[in-house]
Symmetry: C2
Subunit: 511 residues, 2 copies
């Protein structure tokens, strides 16, 4: 039986390439956290060189040569010769490296460099444009990025729509044709549920979350929760950035960022828990597999399932706050000393259409995603002019949520993704929510007293389960296979909808 | 006439290589400032890959091919064909690239990787060992590094002593044979001067510098002085690290670090000014020449001249404190409100043999360097066993300064340099002091009212002079040529000795 050891001539090269992409990730992290403003142009060039070099080395004839000994290019799977096959890990590694290789091979080196440079610059302009709420400032950059992503889709090839080529980058094997009915099914039950909530006689007042909260203490509390979740600060950090994110340079150096506003408690609190979920995934990957697909996250949807599971299934649950609310009260006695736990629980779960995706409640969040999914398909398919984006955005928000953004900063400029060229990324957020609910449903069956453990602050029982079932496997399985393996069934929106109907039914006393 | 434009096929490649080394520098900066402790091993590997790749690309046949069209390898200078010569910039660029290339070409790629990895690890162990004052912990790593540096000297080749090969890395064209008489001349006048100071009836009490000083305010003051010096925070940052340093990823992103202790005002104050001097040099390099020798600092000695000029000639002078002392008093009224300027000036200039190089006064500083210069020659020449280092160190400190370190943390473990493999680096500190005094002597002649400008806080008149005379030229001239060009004479210890004799003669009332 041939094993991973046989693949050393390949994996040694992959690890060196990973060093380049890990370095590029650190340069990006630094750009978002500590880089002086004047350093932006040079930084964009440096990142572009690293990414191009990583790409060039990956598609080099050297890698192709070793890879083609072992993989049948017509099926993209390891070649099994009779009596001397590959074990499961080696087969999976070859399958996934081949997938990456055959995709990367289609992208010209010059294109990779242009995209890297343009997106690094576009991100910096976006950040300024958002501050000034000035879409026109961002427009030429966004046009360039859209054109580049259309070009990329042509290189990669696709069925039905160029958008599928981009979607496949973030959620391997997903297509518009598969997602559309799932999203439609979701919408069909979410919208009536939201309507019932909005017309309920129960009105939740969440003003207590928007009193003055010292940001240093908010960060302290975030750190405390992260520690309780099992996020290891010996192998991680928490910093501030405009847009919270998680990045990893190795399982021993995984960093999360958050934002903290003085008059908005949920922003810092829930981004810490959310990014912590991402961070646990990256810290839970197998360091011995670093640089290979078996040491990488499976897909963005699965990654997002980890953050949403922690943020929502855990972080907005009663058992969690039975443990942590007294601590939060101690930290903010003036603001919360006289507020009881039920009132706090209701406040953090209040559902109401709002403008900003990352602050949306669980009911409306996926509506934000659906409209982005539609808009970005339009852009990539060339049906939507980039100039018209603010108008289209505002129209869609109105039709999905019944509200209109007063400024583009609260509208079309709110997300970093398009500046980065991350088209096809948004749907993975909704997939993440669905995966999360299905996984949490399963873990509650397997760990009978999970609520009691969480209430006692022993969050790491959950972390360990996730490590065992998901993190440590990397890209060993496809998402479909993983869900089947862990939950015994394919992905379904049912657990998510049931969870919401139960939670909001109780909270808003829906009959 | 052929110009820099002709060299584009070369410089384009050099800039890409610089992106790799700039990325490696950011990874190192991060390692010293924000990296979580657990990330050290992976980081060492990542830096090693970047440095090896940069090395491999630099010595590649591609670069050799374009370079060999233009450079005569027997003399290492541009080939001038009649009627179509190179202009001065292009000649200088070719001379310096050839120098780097012919040195790099001698080092095997595998050696570069081993050295990078080992020194990155050794530095992390050194940092722990220093905390614990445990030389034995550091010993095996130091042995490895010394052996690697001996190996490096053999690859590079040398006359007289392998130490010359290493010295040449940091101070191009310098040799032990040239330095020894300069150092001897220095010692011959420094030691008697120090003796006269020590036996003077004037006793300076510097206890006011070691009261309790809030470190946040110390950093604030450091920032204020840096800003006054013309250090541009739009293109730079100030952070904390165990060992203060300056690093640059491009003239638009130059970072300085400092340390700050609650009961030690000079540590933060003078490292800020010192590193600021380095930072101004790097910010003053020509961004259009980034990646080529004309966009790089000339030598470590010249670099150190910039930091020492600011730290000592300016930062320990009366005119400087006439401007800044009232501000410092405002910041620390309890500690300094009743201390007059003369007393403060005397305190920061008190001369006394002490254990820690970076905190040494101007009189004793070079004695610290001389003993290191002797010790590291012994190690590289194989005359000194690394095991015996603590004993040899303590013996030398005693003979040079008349004191003995109570712990290795205050002795042989105090400097980061050897862990990094930076043998041959220390002498550039003394060269820096000599260059600084000679340059400052010159600028005082050229800017007649310099003291008055400094007293009025207009430090940038000096910055501009240094920009014009030194920074913007990069490696256009050799150090010898630059000194001749700027000061009209070759390097001499005379200005430094005169400066010290005058300053300390007045302070200690020496007849």
């Amino acid at each position: 039986m041939k094993t991973l050891g046989t693949l050393a001539p390949l994996t040694t090269q992959l690890v060196e390439i990973q060093h380049l992409t890990s370095a590029a990730s650190l340069l990006s992290w630094d750009q978002e956290t500590y880089m002086p403003a004047g350093g932006g142009h040079a930084r964009a060039e440096q990142i572009a060189t690293l990414q191009t070099l990583a790409h060039d080395r990956f598609v080099s004839s050297d890698i192709e040569r070793v890879l083609s000994q072992w993989v049948d290019p017509s099926i993209g799977e390891a070649i099994d010769s009779r009596g001397d096959g590959w074990d499961e890990s080696a087969r999976a590694l070859l399958r996934e490296v081949w997938r990456d290789f055959s995709r990367a091979k289609k992208l010209p080196s010059d294109f990779v460099k242009r995209l890297s440079r343009e997106s690094s610059l576009a991100q910096q302009v976006w950040s300024e444009a958002r501050k000034k709420s000035d879409f026109r400032m961002f427009l030429p950059h966004l046009k360039t990025i859209v054109a580049l992503k259309q070009e990329e889709a042509e290189y990669l090839g696709y069925r039905d729509t160029p958008y599928n080529a981009l979607l496949d980058t973030y959620e391997p094997r997903a297509t518009v044709a598969q997602l559309r009915p799932v999203f439609a099914a979701l919408k069909a039950r979410l919208v009536p549920l939201l309507n019932r909530v909005m017309t309920s006689s129960i009105k939740i007042d969440d003003a207590i979350l928007f009193l003055h909260y010292d940001t240093t203490r908010q960060m302290e509390f975030g750190r405390l929760v992260l520690t309780a979740m099992g996020y290891d600060f010996e192998r991680g950090r928490l910093d501030l950035s405009a847009h919270p994110f998680t990045t990893s340079f190795h399982p021993t150096d995984v960093r999360v960022t958050t934002r903290a506003y003085e008059r908005e408690l949920p922003a810092c609190l829930f981004s810490c828990i959310h990014e912590g979920g991402h961070g646990l995934y990256d810290q839970g990957l197998d360091p011995a597999r670093y640089g290979t697909p078996l040491g990488e996250a499976l897909s963005l949807g699965i990654h997002e399932s980890q953050s949403r599971l922690w943020e929502n299934s855990v972080g907005r649950s009663r058992p969690f706050w039975r443990c942590f609310y007294p601590l939060l009260q101690q930290m903010f006695p003036e603001q919360l000393g006289t507020v009881d736990q039920d009132r706090f629980y209701a406040a953090i779960n209040r559902a109401k259409p709002s403008l900003i995706r990352v602050e949306a409640d669980e009911l409306t969040y996926n509506l934000h995603i659906m409209m982005r999914f539609e808009i970005e398909q339009g852009m990539i398919e060339g049906r939507t002019r980039v100039e018209d984006l603010p108008a289209i955005w505002n129209d869609k928000v109105n039709s999905y949520l019944g509200i209109v953004p007063p400024t583009d900063a609260d509208g079309v400029l709110q997300d970093v993704h398009w500046s980065l060229g991350a088209f096809g990324y948004f749907p993975t957020y909704t997939l993440g929510n669905l995966y999360a609910a299905q996984l949490y449903d399963q873990v509650q069956k397997e760990i009978q007293n999970l609520d009691a453990e969480i209430e006692a602050g022993r969050l790491t029982v959950l972390t360990k389960w996730l490590n065992q079932k998901i993190h440590r496997w990397g890209r060993m399985f496809t998402a479909e296979h993983l869900m089947q393996r862990v939950t015994g069934r394919p992905l379904s929106p049912e657990p998510f909808l049931e969870y919401l109907e139960k939670k909001y039914g109780e909270l808003y006393e829906l009959s």
